[in-house]
Amino acid sequence: MRKSELVILFSTAILILSACGKKSVFGHVEVLGHGGNGLEIVNAFYHDNSLESIELALLTDGCDGVELDVRLSADGTLWLYHDNELDDGTNGTGCVETSTDEYLSTLHYSSVDQEALIRLSDIPKSYLAEKKVYIDGRSSISCTNGTADMNTFVNEMVAFQNVCLASTEIIVETRNDQWEVAVAAAGFTTIKFITHFDQYADVLMNLPTVDIIVVTNETISKHNISQIHDDGLEVIIFGMRSVKSTREAYNKNPDGILADNLRTAIIEKH
């Protein structure tokens, strides 16, 4: 064997061994699947907020919970749907908030597997045992430019919590400050989304009931997160799709991450 071949062989072996030896442990950071098993990403087999996607995420070893987008139907039932209008991602038209349960139950996503739209109550409660359920409560109705009924939302959330197992932790985010206060008053752990750290001071001042701050990875630094921790609040980061950004997010020491690429996020943690 020639010298150059030996060098190539040796460097390849070193590369593989060094790759195998890498270990990043961020045991305290909770990994939550964004919309189930990931939002609009090719690695995720199923459409976000579908039963298949949620089940796959919850049963994957290392997944601590899921983030779900919840909307109230015209009949006052909580349905899982991310986009504003049904035309955007399903075979239906209009909005969830203006549609009846009977109509919504006939719809499916316009994805390759054509997963059905589901109610929040359709998720098997046993799958949620010892998991965190991050509810993103959507208050605005784009079809009417109105707002969904706050009391119905809160009552439905309480009803859902009552049928869940005691080990299931439900945390709630809404973009509506009024809803945020009402949800906190109902006894839920509440989350506030901020687009930039500059908004954090306003949240502290106007919404003292908030327990968790959720923010994109790009707009927050490790120092900002440590400031939030000093105030006794928790931080969840989202918006990571690559290995690099996921690693960056872990290094900022948040309390949780919303992972679009769930497998990457779990591997990076372990």
Binding site: F45, D113, Y127, T264
Partner: protein, 215 residues
């Protein structure tokens, strides 16, 4: 009769007789105990069996190689729904029929995250079009990949893929290779929560480009 021939040889060709007597003379056997002889016999039988197996493998390999029109080694890069893949393939070709076995690794997982993700695949294609330097035809592929997600190897995820598509090869000895396949992908793993194995199915795609050397 044999003795007669030997006698004639003895007279006419003394040297040849010497050679023949070596062949016909009884073998000198060392005096050994029965047990030692039996052990030696077993040892010889085992070695003969081993060499037979080796011989059979060599015969199969040579026959495969001799009846195939060409063999090839291929370096390829591709992607599926799980990761980017890079690997090496070994191919056999009989006229229009082409058989490939391939070993790949998920690039992001293996090198980016230090978590091995091997993918083994076998594929066969039938070149309907063989014009000049161009070979083109349908292809079917089966692939299996595996990855440990957490420290617990019991809950490692397995993926089975069965695809159909096309394969294109351009070149003489050094060929540019390209294939696109689509089909069924299955993810299965042991769920600690349910205490059983779970399966999830979806549609998948696999596309690759590569360079092969035919010999």
């Amino acid at each position: 009769m044999f003795r007669l021939i030997l006698n004639r040889c003895k007279k006419k060709h003394f040297q040849s007789f010497k050679a023949l007597s070596i062949l016909t003379a009884p073998l000198r056997v060392k005096r050994r105990s029965v047990a030692k002889n039996s052990r030696r016999k077993d040892y010889i039988v085992r070695n003969v069996q081993k060499s037979n197996v080796r011989f059979l493998v060599i015969i199969i390999f040579i026959s495969f190689a001799s009846i195939s029109n060409a063999q090839s080694i291929e370096l390829s890069a591709g992607f599926n729904r799980l990761d980017y893949q890079a690997g090496v393939a070994y191919g056999h070709r009989w006229n229009h029929f082409h058989l490939t076995s391939k070993l790949e690794f998920g690039v992001t997982s293996t090198f980016g995250q230090g978590r091995m993700m091997p993918r083994i695949s076998v594929g066969s294609s039938y070149f309907l079009l063989r014009k000049g330097l161009v070979d083109f035809g349908p292809e079917i592929v089966y692939a299996f990949s595996r990855q440990r997600i957490t420290f617990n190897s019991k809950t490692a995820h397995n993926w089975n893929e069965i695809y159909a598509g096309y394969r294109l090869q351009i070149g003489r000895n050094i060929k540019f290779v390209h294939s696109v396949n689509g089909g069924w992908i299955n993810e299965s793993f042991y769920s600690s929560a349910l205490g059983k194995r779970v399966n999830y199915n979806s549609l998948g795609i696999y596309a690759q480009i590569g360079v092969s050397y035919t010999f």
